[in-house]
Every structure is written in structure tokens, then in C-alpha cells.
């Protein structure tokens, strides 16, 4: 009896339809303009039906964020596979992370700004030990440890450094998103280059100088 399977599949398909429609609205009008009624109109159903497939609006937004976050992680791991030296790897990773994030501004902002207590942001977190649990931070942490594999720098200092780099990168991305229309593509690229060449690199070097 494949009827149960078909039903489940249809249910998933309708959920997908709702999510895709929500994503469509987000792309067109921004995340703040996603509304249950707007989704319902587009899929030509009554608004109430949506609560048959999702608990509430937050759950829908949550799914959209999960999608966006996955895109970031995919972009990151592709940058990880390079065989450069760790310093160069760090540069490439940072650049990739920035570029991918800028391609999905709404998702990025929402994911980053909604670390409701308990549901901590999945990318960069600042609490002690966060590097162990957050994929993006962990990648950054390991990259830094590779850079300092010869010096005897404490892991806690490396974690601090990873968090500071993550927070700084986050700030740059946020500003670029917020001021989208104002920053020319040329200036934006200058900023990203300058950030990687002076902030990230500078930090790595400064840390290296202080070791012993």
C-alpha cells in the first residue's frame, strides 16, 4: 500500500511549495514582507491551510534560514579543499564566506541577528567553547591552528582569535548589506581586499609576533 507514502510525499511537496513561495517573496520584497496571507494568495489556498503544514510563521522563516545557512557552509567547504598554505587558505575562505553571504543578504542578516537564547546563531558565536560546536567557527579555528602549528600558542588564544575574526567579518558583511545601494562595486571590492590584507592578515601576524 503506497498510499501512505504518496500522502507523505504530497505533504512534503506542499511544504516545499509553501517554502519556495516564501523564499520567492523574500527575494522580491524582503523578509519583512513575507506574510501568511501573501503566501496563501500566491499558492491559491486559504491562509489557514498553512497552519496545517507549519506550526507558525516562525517555523517557515526558520526553514528559510536553514537553507541559507547551508548555502554558506557549502561555499565554505568548497574553499577548504584548496591545497594552499594555511595563510592563503584563510584568505580564500574569508573571501568566499563574504561573497556567498552577500548573495543572500536577507537570509544572512536574519540568521545572524536571531540568536534567540537557546537557538544560538549557527555560524559565529562568541561564547567560550563555541568553536567546538559551530561548523564555520570550527573551520576557522583549525585553519588558525595550522598557521601556528610551530609556535606554542594556547588553544584558548586561538579560539579568541577565531571569534574576533568571525565577528569582524560579520561586521563587514553586515555593513555591505545595509549599505548596498550606496557602495559601488569597485569600492566594495576594495574594502573586501583591504579587510583581508590588513585586518585578517594583520591579526594573524600580530599574533605570530607575540608568540614564544
Amino acid at each position: 500500500m503506497g498510499i501512505k507514502e504518496r500522502k507523505e510525499r504530497e505533504r512534503r511537496e506542499k511544504q516545499e511549495l509553501i517554502l519556495n513561495t516564501a523564499a520567492e517573496i523574500m527575494k522580491e520584497d524582503g523578509i519583512d514582507n513575507i506574510s501568511i496571507r501573501k503566501i496563501a494568495n500566491r499558492i491559491e489556498y486559504s491562509p489557514a491551510i498553512i497552519y496545517h503544514y507549519f506550526k507558525d510563521k516562525d517555523e517557515i522563516i526558520g526553514h528559510l534560514m536553514k537553507r541559507g545557512y547551508q548555502k554558506i557552509l557549502d561555499g565554505l567547504s568548497s574553499a577548504l579543499e584548496t591545497r594552499d598554505n594555511p595563510e592563503e587558505k584563510l584568505r580564500k575562505m574569508t573571501r568566499k564566506y563574504i561573497e556567498v553571504s552577500l548573495q543572500m543578504p536577507d537570509e544572512y542578516m536574519t540568521v545572524q541577528l536571531n540568536s534567540t537564547p537557546g537557538v544560538v546563531s549557527q555560524t559565529a558565536s562568541l561564547f567560550k567553547g563555541a568553536a567546538e560546536k559551530k561548523p564555520a567557527l570550527k573551520i576557522l579555528f583549525q585553519c588558525l591552528r595550522e598557521i601556528y602549528r610551530d609556535g606554542n600558542i594556547d588553544d584558548s588564544v586561538i579560539e579568541l582569535t577565531a571569534q574576533v575574526i568571525a565577528a569582524s567579518t560579520f561586521g563587514l558583511i553586515m555593513r555591505l548589506i545595509i549599505e548596498q545601494g550606496l557602495v559601488s562595486a569597485e569600492h566594495r571590492n576594495n574594502l573586501i581586499d583591504h579587510f583581508i590584507n590588513t585586518a585578517v592578515d594583520g591579526m594573524v601576524q600580530t599574533l605570530g609576533n607575540n608568540r614564544e
Copy 2:
């Protein structure tokens, strides 16, 4: 005839009452829970009266932001008056900026996140030439120029650097606000120290090394 003056004063006082009540609600329940009706209830007036004193809710929020922004600027200029060398001045300014911002998380986030096209964020902006118009950026810019007064570094590079420092600091502050409950006071201080000692200092040094 001081009647007109009294009327105007009363009008300003009622505006102040509304703004103070809104600020009170923001402090208690967060900026998202400020509502016209809630303000009206507290001051024991009908909701409609508020539109007699303000155009709309955005104008009220705008005033709250202006207040918060002024607090930041005041904190900054107090840190400016020190007679340290420019490098130390930069450190103190950055620290002060972070501390003041953390004391008014809601105002800070809202001011920073609402650079509606046309109403550009008042603190850190990334468009070309922003340093000329934004007080906080201008202070940062001048401080950097003092640091490099002997080397021949192009003003455009200094502006880039100022913007990158501002964006990074912004990112750190945002993360600390977002993860308030999760970051212990001790770890938070470690992060701020590490940020200033490696990110800001590192950047300044890296830039200094590349000059000629």
C-alpha cells in the same frame, strides 16, 4: 503675552513625555515591543493623541535613536581629549565606543541596522567619502592620519582602513549584544581586549609596514 510660549513648552513637554515613555518601554521590553497603544496606556491618553505630537511611530523611534547616537558621540569625544600618543588614543577610543554601545544595545542595533537609503547610518558608513560626513568615522580617520603622519600613505587608503576598523568594531559589538546572555563578563572582556590588541593594532601595524 507668554501664552504662546507656554503652549509651545507644554507641547514639547508632552512630546518629551511620549518619548520618555517609549524609552522606558524599550528598556523594559525591547524596541520591538514599543507600541502606540502601550505608550498611550502608560501616559493615560488615547492612542490617537500621539499622532498630534508625532507624524508616526517611525518618527518616535527616530528620536530615540538620535538620543542614543548622541550618547555614543559624547562618550567618544570624552575619550578624544586624552593626551596619549595616537596609537593609544585609538585603543582608548575603540574601547570607549564599544563600552558605550553595549550600554544601550537596542538603540545601537536600531541605529546601525536602519540605514534606509537616504538616511545613512550616522556612525560607520562604507561608501566612498563617508569619513567626511560621519562624525564617528571622521574622528577615526583623523586619528589614523596622526598615526601615519610621517609615512606617505594615501588618504584614500587611510579612509579604507578607517572603514574596515569601524565595520569590524561594529561586528564585535553586534555579536556581543546578540549573545548577551551567553557570553560571560570575563570572556566578553577578553574578547574586547583581544580585538583591540590584535585586530585594531594588527591592522595599524600591517599598514605601517607596507608604507614607504
